[in-house]
Amino acid sequence: MKRLFNTKLRIILVVALLVTAALSVLSGLTNRSIPDLLVQGALTPFRAVATSLTNTVERYYSYMFKYEALEAENEVLKAQIAEMEDTTRQAAATSRENERLRAQNKLLTTHESYVMTDAYIIGWSSTDFTNVLTINRGTNSGIDVNMCAVTANGEVVGLVTQVGPNYAEVKTVLDSTLEISSTISASGYNGMVSGGYLRGNDKLLRMNYLPSAAIIRNSQQVVTSGSTVYPRGLVVGSVVDAGFETTGVAKYALLEPAADIDALEQIFIITQYTTDTGSTAATTPTTADDAAETTAPADTTTP
């Protein structure tokens, strides 16, 4: 073995180790290098074709073998729509009441408007500890790093972490390294949401840093608190479980992601969003966060 391990092999070994070190340093310095753009740019058409073919086959398969399941799902969805229409009617009444109260108390109103770009998913990461999607749009379509990705229904998918001319990588909410500042919409409790992979829940999200006195109920919706990256009020998920941290000073909640990440085909990237403050003219509060705190109802119900 020692004799077989000749000079040439030793050189290859040293080069491999040096390249590994150099690439590690390079990836720390920049997340968009020329070889990245070249290789991924060249692979994007192949990935797009392969994904398109797979989706077509999947659609035919579903049509042929899952027709009854789809029919049953359709019935359930119809019932859900009817329920949601009823909720919308109630929400409209609440909204009118809210506007009246805002005007009465001279509170500012905020309107957020988004500019979105649609994109199709062409690749999924296969490493166990990462959850990254590759989409078929990039800088040519106005997409840039740190832009928020959502579904057609405004459910958070993730964040753009790397971008090339014709592709972009989106780190999903299931990835443990992505943290989103969020609020339980019903109670107004704030916390940080990240993927639950590291705590043994790879399909769930974990909302940390909740007050130990917080009352958390199942099925409560969690939305984004609003930041420079994520607009306010995007649905992150709904509570499925809660408990105390090991330290006992804070609570955590497990959430089911609102977006079905594994079943996604198309997503939308929010390329621009603006927050306009209304002209109801008031002295307090002045910022969107203050307004949110003022309007967020305090949940006093028992679990």
Binding site: I12, A50, S125, S126
Partner: protein, 235 residues
């Protein structure tokens, strides 16, 4: 008979007459040869004695390949294409198919198989280059995959070369060991960097297992491509 021989044999007097004619012919030939030699000498004298090889060759010469070279080129093109297709198939199809929470690593499996098939030296160089491309493709978990692919390819190739004869079984076994080492290394680095936890080990082991199973049909394809242009295996 004796009379016939006498007729054929020229008389001694005629022999003496024929010689000057031959000499005249020889002289003419030698003049021509001398003129040719002189001309060549003059041409050679006009040029320097030492002529270096041409630095630039014509396009037709550059593009000219022998049959063996053409076959070798075709083989490498097909092997690279197979690796690229495996990588794309992994990203677009296989990563969505999860059995017991684990998926395959088809791209790495293809690189390891080609590396193993091409022998230790060529295979290691191929594994090094392919792993760099794999890293830049965005599918790799990190830069450490360059070392994690190249080193097992080299070590398993050396081990096979030293102790086993080249056969489907030995190649597959060494490739299986290489991918198991890769997944184990990946898991160890991920644990060290805090990206995963110990409880996820079975998933990495399952990924290695699925990849090994997929290696069997993949090896048949890569072996057939590797046979293009005849066996060039030298150990």
């Amino acid at each position: 008979m004796a009379e016939e021989q006498k007729r054929k044999r020229p008389p001694s007097g005629s022999k003496a007459k024929a010689r000057p004619q031959r000499r005249r012919k020889r002289r003419r030939g030698s003049v021509l040869a001398r003129w040719l030699v002189d001309t060549v000498d003059k041409i050679q004298a006009s040029r320097p004695e030492f002529q270096p090889d041409k630095q630039q060759s014509s396009l037709s010469r550059l593009l000219h390949f022998t049959k063996q070279q053409r076959m070798s080129l075709l083989r490498w093109v097909l092997l690279v294409l197979t690796c690229v297709l495996c990588l794309v198939a992994q990203d677009c199809i296989m990563s969505r198919i999860k059995l017991f929470g684990a998926t395959t690593d088809l791209g790495v499996a293809a690189i390891l198989l080609v590396g193993m098939l091409e022998g230790t030296e060529t295979g290691s160089i191929f594994a090094l280059l392919a792993s760099i491309v794999y890293y830049f493709s965005g599918s790799a978990p990190g830069a450490y995959c360059v070392a994690l692919i190249t080193v097992p390819t080299m070590l398993c190739g050396l081990f096979r070369q030293k102790y086993w004869r080249r056969s489907t079984g030995s190649m597959l076994l060494c490739s299986a060991i290489a991918i198991a080492v890769y997944e184990l290394g990946l898991f160890a680095i991920a644990v060290f960097m805090g990206l995963t936890h110990w409880a996820r080990f079975p998933y990495f082991a399952l990924t290695a297992l699925y990849s090994i199973v997929l290696m069997i049909p993949l090896y048949q394809l890569i072996y057939r491509i590797g046979r293009i242009g005849g066996h060039i295996w030298n150990e």
